[in-house]
């Protein structure tokens, strides 16, 4: 008697344990699935069961389902054929979500939504051929015609729990229906991984991040990828580390591939997104290669480019320094007012005798007030004796032009204060 009670107890415990299990082994499809984290639905608007493992050579493996994929929908199809079972199939399809999905023999897929459970979509079917469409009904609105022939009724089951999964599979396999898993990517994970890789300062992240920038069609991934590359470039140029990992990163960046990528994607003709172009300029400004002078000058002179980016290209050239002076002077001399402004400002940042002399000459000869203001500012930055002399000469010359004069007074005042 006691043994009987004990074994009964054991069975009850076993049933409980099995009932509480959050995993399920699907013997037919040869996969293990796991109940999804309860708050994924709230936080990421996601539902489903997760594939924990796929057994080799099973139906799931043949379909190339992968571990970790999230099955959010199981979609079955009730094929109508000539004998037809439309009524029953439609009822099943609409059972959960009041949606009737039909695939016609001409390949059209039509989704008919009724307002409440029990409402009719408004069509009658004989075998698999539509023989009546009610005026004003969802079917009529979807332009279904009498005589259209239905290939299959599609039943889309949203999966929230393991029980939902079991029920859907059981139902569809019973009817020999075609089964499709619709999987969902967990939003944010890849973006977070891309961002984190920018922080970890590891050389191994460089190639995969470059692949994303070059090959992904997903802008929400490409933007963080280029930002992370820029972070890694920053890391590689800082002199505070000297670990093996850091040296590997420095070598990796020094191989020039990231530089080549930045020089390519800074171009408007190659990259449509301005944030990516901007970040590329940032990378070039940190690496400061001579080879970027041409491309940065081109961006600076590109009248179709966003003003902010053109200006940033000028700053990039300033960062490159003395090597960029020739190119900047050429651009200054041939360019329109905008180019002159940016180039003058960059020449002021870089300084040097040649920059100074070009700016002094221009200040004498140019009429445009904005450019003259920029040149005054640039010469003030250079701040050597000839520059100050040139500014003082201008003060005498432009006594009548109030805005320029005010600015000159301000600049000269500051220079004086600095020299004291």
């Amino acid at each position: 008697m006691l043994v009987k009670i004990q074994s009964l107890l054991l069975i009850v415990i076993l049933i409980c344990a099995v009932g509480c299990e959050n995993r399920y082994h699907d013997e037919q499809f040869k996969i293990h699935v796991q109940q999804l984290d309860s708050d994924l639905e709230n936080r990421w608007s996601t539902n489903g069961v997760v594939v924990i493992s796929v057994e080799p050579n099973g139906p799931a493996a043949r379909a190339q389902l992968e571990e970790g994929e999230l099955i959010s929908y199981v979609v079955g199809e009730y094929s109508l054929g000539s004998e037809g079972n439309y009524g029953r199939a439609a009822k099943k399809s609409m059972h959960e979500d009041n949606n009737l999905i039909l695939r016609f023999t001409d390949g059209r897929i039509v989704r008919l939504a009724v307002r409440r459970s029990g409402d009719k979509p408004g069509l009658k079917v004989d075998g698999n051929v539509v023989n009546e469409v009610k005026g004003g009904s969802p079917a009529a609105n979807a332009n279904i015609q009498v005589g259209d022939s239905i290939d299959a009724v599609i039943d889309e089951r949203k999966i929230r729990t393991i029980d939902d999964y079991k029920e859907a599979i059981e139902e569809f396999t019973k009817h020999g229906s075609k089964i499709t898993f619709r999987t969902t990517e967990l939003a944010g994970v890849r973006i977070a991984a891309v961002e984190a890789l920018g922080e970890l300062g590891d050389a191994r992240a460089v190639d995969p991040l470059m692949d994303i920038v070059e090959q992904s069609g997903d802008l929400s991934l490409r933007k963080p990828a280029i930002r992370s590359l820029a972070r890694l470039v920053d890391f590689s140029q800082s002199s505070t580390h000297s670990t093996e990992r850091f040296n590997a990163l420095r070598e990796k960046i020094a191989d020039g591939r990231v530089l080549a990528l930045a020089q390519m994607y800074v171009k408007r003709a190659v990259e449509a997104d301005q944030e990516i172009r901007r970040t590329c300029i940032g990378i070039l400004g940190v690496l400061k290669p001579q080879s970027a002078i041409g491309v940065l000058t081109a961006v600076m002179e590109d009248s179709g480019e966003v003003p902010g980016i053109r200006f940033q290209a000028g700053l990039g050239l300033s960062q490159i320094g003395a090597d960029a002076v020739d190119s900047l002077i050429a651009a200054f001399e041939r360019g329109d007012a905008n180019v002159k402004n940016i180039a003058a400002s960059a020449l002021g940042n870089i300084g040097g005798i040649r920059s100074r002399d070009v700016l002094i000459d221009a200040l004498d000869s140019l009429e445009d007030l904005t450019i003259r203001l920029t040149i005054v500012d640039a010469l003030a930055k250079i701040g050597d004796a000839p520059a100050i002399q040139a500014l003082q000469n201008q003060k005498v010359r432009f006594q009548d032009e109030s805005s320029l004069n005010t600015f000159l007074n301000e600049v000269l005042g500051q220079l004086e204060a600095r020299s004291m």
Binding site: N22, R62, I179, T183, A192, A193, E199, R204
Partner: protein
């Protein structure tokens, strides 16, 4: 508004407390009068009275407590009239204010333990709170440890958010020096019925940064996929548990990597972000794998 209300409640409590404690020490009475008054620099002047009160009666608990409470380094600087300002400045340090509060506790243990945990910590002034923390740390080392922990447990289980928050802070600070005692106490609280208590316990465990808390924190994180709703911890607590693992770092990196790799977890992004700040090399490969994950798609199963 809230702060104002809280301030006035504390002031009233303090006033009642001051009035109710009858004292024969003249300086003490004068100091208390000053505090209640609207006079200029009243606290600074009251402090001078409390010091005299202690000189007269070195074992006066109330004078010690009030001196610890009100003395402040802000009263003393080179510009002040006193010649010995440096000495006074030193005496008003957190360390010394805590010492006075502790001396009050030594005279009347139960009374001042209650006051320190449920009143002093509530004062919205870092100087007072730090002095109280210092006193409580002294009690932990030299006083009745069991009663102190009992009192802090009561506070972290309290209905009042301020008590819970203050207690979590004190437990975390004591726990940094004595993880062997405090971590198990906090772990026990992870099963408490009040979510906010569990939340504060998790936060404190993160701040202590003791690796012994890792398994319990992992258990909380993973409870999200439990089949029965009652076995699942709430999302906020679980999220904080990931954050706590991020603060612990070290051996927690392995666990964070596992969470980041668990494709059924809602906390993958949190775990990845924690790994990003830790900068540990072990995170690189799992993150590279995450980049290669499948996007949304349809897979037809033939059977």
């Amino acid at each position: 508004m809230n702060r104002c209300l809280r301030g006035s409640i504390i002031s009233i409590c303090l006033a009642v407390f001051l009035v109710s404690c009858g004292s024969h020490n003249e300086y003490l009475s004068k100091g208390k009068e000053l505090i209640k008054s609207e006079r200029r620099r009243k606290e600074e002047r009251a402090v001078a009275q409390f010091k005299l009160a202690i000189q007269q009666e070195p074992s006066n608990a109330e004078a010690h407590y009030l001196l610890g409470f009100y003395d402040s380094q802000e009263f003393y600087n080179a510009k002040s009239s006193s010649e010995n300002w440096e000495e006074y400045w030193e005496k008003a340090s957190t360390e010394n204010r805590g010492k006075h509060m502790f001396l009050a506790y030594q005279q009347e243990q139960n009374k001042y333990l209650e006051i320190l945990v449920f009143e002093t910590l509530r004062r919205n002034e870092p100087g007072v709170q730090n002095a109280a923390l210092n006193a409580l740390k002294r009690i932990y080392k030299q006083g009745d440890r069991d009663k102190l922990l009992k009192s802090l447990k009561k506070a972290i289980k309290s209905k009042d958010n301020r008590d819970r928050h203050d207690a979590h802070w004190v437990l975390a600070e004591i726990g940094k020096d004595a993880p062997g005692t405090i971590v198990p106490l906090l772990v026990e609280l992870l099963d408490h019925k009040r979510k906010e208590t569990r939340l504060n316990a998790v936060k404190a465990l993160g701040e202590i940064r003791d690796e012994n808390a890792i398994p319990e924190l992992v258990k909380i994180v993973n409870s999200g996929s439990a089949k029965r709703a009652k076995d699942r911890e709430s999302p906020e607590v679980r999220q904080l548990a990931v954050e706590a693992l991020g603060k612990i770092g070290g051996a927690a990196v392995k666990e964070l990597v596992e969470i980041a790799e668990n494709k059924g977890s809602s906390l993958r992004v949190d775990a990845i972000q924690a790994l990003a700040t830790l900068g540990d090399e072990r995170a690189v490969n799992p993150l590279l794998n995450a980049l290669g994950e499948q996007g949304s798609r349809e897979v037809e199963i033939k059977f």
